[in-house]
C-alpha cells in the first residue's frame, strides 16, 4: 500500500517529464551512453566526445532543417543530393579559380534555390513532398554523376573559408561542431519562442485549420523547404572543407539518417509535433553509435542496425508517453 502510494507519487512527479517532446530521446541517449561506456573504457572521455560531436555535426545540421520542415508537415528527401550538389558546386567553382568564399556563398544560394523549387512544385501542384523531393533527389544525383562522369573533384590550397567551416579546434573537435550547436540553438529558439515557430507548429498540425485561423500555411512551408535545403547545402560545404574532396555519390543515405534523427528526437511524421533540440540530440546519438562501435571493436556494419533499434525503440516510447489523443 505504502509502496503503491510512493510509486504513484513518483509517477505524478515524472508526468511533466514524460509529456515533454524530447522524452524519448532522453531515454535513447541514456541507453546509448550506458551501453557504450560499458563496452569501452574510452567512451566517456573528452577526446571521444570531441570526435562524436564532430561526426554528428554534418547529419545534425541537416537534421535541424529536416526536423523544422517535418514539423511544418513536409519531407525533404533531396537533402542528401543537395548536400553533394552544394559541395560539388563549391569545389568546381574553386578549381576553376573563383574565390572560395564566393564559391561557398554561391553553393548556398544554389541549395536555397533547390529548396525553393521543391517548395514551389509541392505547393503549386499539391503533390506530396515525399514524391517531389524523392524525384528531386534522384534527378540531382543523376545530374551529379553525369556532369562529373562519376569522378570526385578535389580542391587544393588553403582558403580561410575552409578553416572557418571546419577547422580543427582541439584533437578531433572541429569548428563545424560549434556551427552545429549554434544552428541547433538558434532554430530551437525560433521554433519555441517566436511567432514563426508557432505558425510552423500550426501549419504542420493541420494546414487548413492554421489557414482558417489566419496563418499563411503555404508561405511557412515554402520558407521551411528553403531552410532545409540551405542547411543541407551548408553541411555539404562543411564536408568539402573537412575532406577537400567531394564524390558525386557523397551523402547517399543521409536523408534517411536525418529523418531518423528527427524521429528519435520526437518529430511526428505527420507534422505538428517535434523539437529541434530533440532532433539535434538524435543526430548526436547517430554520432555516438558510429564512434562507440569503433571503440568497442565491433565491425562498423552494425552501425545501421543499431540506429534501427534506437529508432523503433524511441517511436514506441513516444507512442506510450504521449497518449492516445495525440496522433503520432
Amino acid at each position: 500500500m505504502e509502496k503503491e502510494k510512493h510509486i504513484y507519487s513518483l509517477r505524478l512527479k515524472l508526468a511533466p517529464l514524460t509529456k515533454m517532446n524530447e522524452f524519448g530521446v532522453f531515454i535513447s541517449l541514456f541507453f546509448t551512453v550506458v551501453l557504450f561506456s560499458l563496452l569501452s573504457k574510452e567512451f566517456l572521455t573528452l577526446k571521444t566526445w570531441g570526435g562524436i560531436l564532430t561526426i554528428s555535426s554534418e547529419v545534425g545540421i541537416i537534421a535541424v532543417g529536416a526536423a523544422f520542415l517535418m514539423i511544418s508537415g513536409e519531407f525533404d528527401l533531396s537533402v542528401s543530393s543537395v548536400f553533394a550538389v552544394s559541395g560539388m558546386t563549391m569545389a568546381m567553382l574553386v578549381t576553376s579559380g573563383v574565390d572560395a568564399t564566393l564559391a561557398f556563398l554561391i553553393a548556398l544560394l544554389v541549395s536555397a534555390g533547390i529548396g525553393a523549387l521543391n517548395g514551389f512544385i509541392t505547393l503549386r501542384f499539391a503533390i506530396p513532398s515525399f514524391i517531389t523531393t524523392l524525384g528531386m533527389m534522384m534527378f540531382l544525383r543523376g545530374l551529379l554523376l553525369a556532369t562529373t562522369g562519376g569522378f570526385p573533384v578535389k580542391i587544393a590550397g588553403d582558403y580561410p573559408i575552409l578553416d572557418i567551416l571546419a577547422g580543427r579546434i582541439l584533437g578531433d573537435l572541429r569548428l563545424h561542431a560549434v556551427w552545429f550547436v549554434t544552428i541547433a540553438a538558434i532554430f530551437h529558439i525560433i521554433l519555441t519562442l517566436t511567432p514563426y515557430g508557432n505558425w510552423t507548429y500550426a501549419t504542420g498540425g493541420q494546414a487548413d485549420t492554421a489557414r482558417a485561423l489566419g496563418v499563411s500555411a503555404n508561405k511557412v512551408k515554402f520558407i521551411n523547404f528553403v531552410l532545409s535545403a540551405t542547411l543541407a547545402g551548408l553541411a555539404g560545404c562543411i564536408a568539402l572543407a573537412r575532406f577537400r574532396i567531394v564524390e558525386p555519390t557523397a551523402g547517399i543515405g543521409l536523408e534517411l539518417e536525418a529523418i531518423a534523427a528527427s524521429v528519435i528526437g520526437g518529430c511526428s511524421l505527420r507534422g505538428g509535433i517535434g523539437s529541434i533540440a530533440g532532433a539535434a540530440a538524435g543526430a548526436l546519438i547517430v554520432g555516438m553509435i558510429r564512434v562507440g562501435l569503433v571503440l568497442a571493436g565491433a565491425p562498423p556494419y552494425w552501425y545501421s542496425g543499431f540506429i534501427g533499434v534506437i529508432l523503433i525503440g524511441a517511436a514506441i516510447i513516444y507512442k506510450m508517453t504521449r497518449g492516445k489523443h495525440i496522433r503520432w
Binding site: I189, L193, T194, P195, G197, N198, W199, Y201, A202, G204, G205, Q206, D208, T209, A210, A212, L213, G214, V215, S268, G272, I273, G323, H325, I326, R327
Partner: protein, 252 residues
Amino acid sequence: MVAEKEPLMKLVKIYKRFGPVVALNNVDFEVYPGECVGLVGDNGAGKSTLAKIMIGYYQPDRGEIYFEGRKVRFKSPKDARQLGIEMVYQDLALLDTMNIWRNFFLGKELVKSVGPFKILDKNTMKKLSADFLREIGIRVRSVDETVGVLSGGERQSIAIARTVYFGAKLLILDEPTTALSFKEAEQVLKYINDLKKKGLGIVVISHNIYHVYEVADRFTILDKGVKVADYLYKKDVEPQDIIDIIVKKKFS
C-alpha cells in the same frame, strides 16, 4: 424591434457562379447587431458560398456588401477579419496538436523585446487567455493543456471565444453543434446566447433546422442558390414549418 437599427451586415443581390453552376442567384441577406440568424438549407443550397462571401473568401460576381452602413469589398479573409468578421468552422476550429494559449493567440502572438529580438511573451499570453476564458465562463484545467484532450464543446467554445477576444463583431458559425453531444451543444448554445446579449451579430449555418432552432432568432432559407424565405421569426414558426418550406420548394 431589431428592424429599427441599422443592419450590421447587409448583402444586396449577391450573384456568384462557379463555371456553369449558379451558386447564388441575387440573394439579399441581413444580420443585425445582437441578433442570431439561422441560415438554413439543404446541401448545395449555397449557404457555405454565402458565408464565404461574407468573410471575403470568395468575391461575388455581382452584388453589394455593406458592413456597419459602409459599402465594402473584401479581397481576402484578412480584409474582413480587420473589420471584425470571423468564421468558426466545425472541423477547423482549433489545432489539436497545440496547447490552448498557443491556439488562442495563433497568428496574433504577443511579443516582447529581448535585446534586438522579439520573442513570444508566453506569460502574458497564458494569463490573458486564462483570464478571458474564466471571465466568459469557459472552464479549462490549464491553458497549457493540449487541445487534443478537450471535448468538442470546449473546443468550439474556445474557438468562438478567441474571435470575440480579438474584437469580432460578426460571427459566422458553420454547423457549430452538429458533432457535439447534447450536453456539449447546450453549453455552446448558452454561450452563443451570451454573445448575442453583448451585441454581436451571429449567423449560424446548418442543414439541420433542429440544430439552429434553439439559438437563432429568425431564419433565412436558401434553396439551390435562391432565397426562398426570410424573416421567419422563431415566435411565428415551428421547425416543421421550415422543413415544409424546404421540402415543398424541392418538389415544386
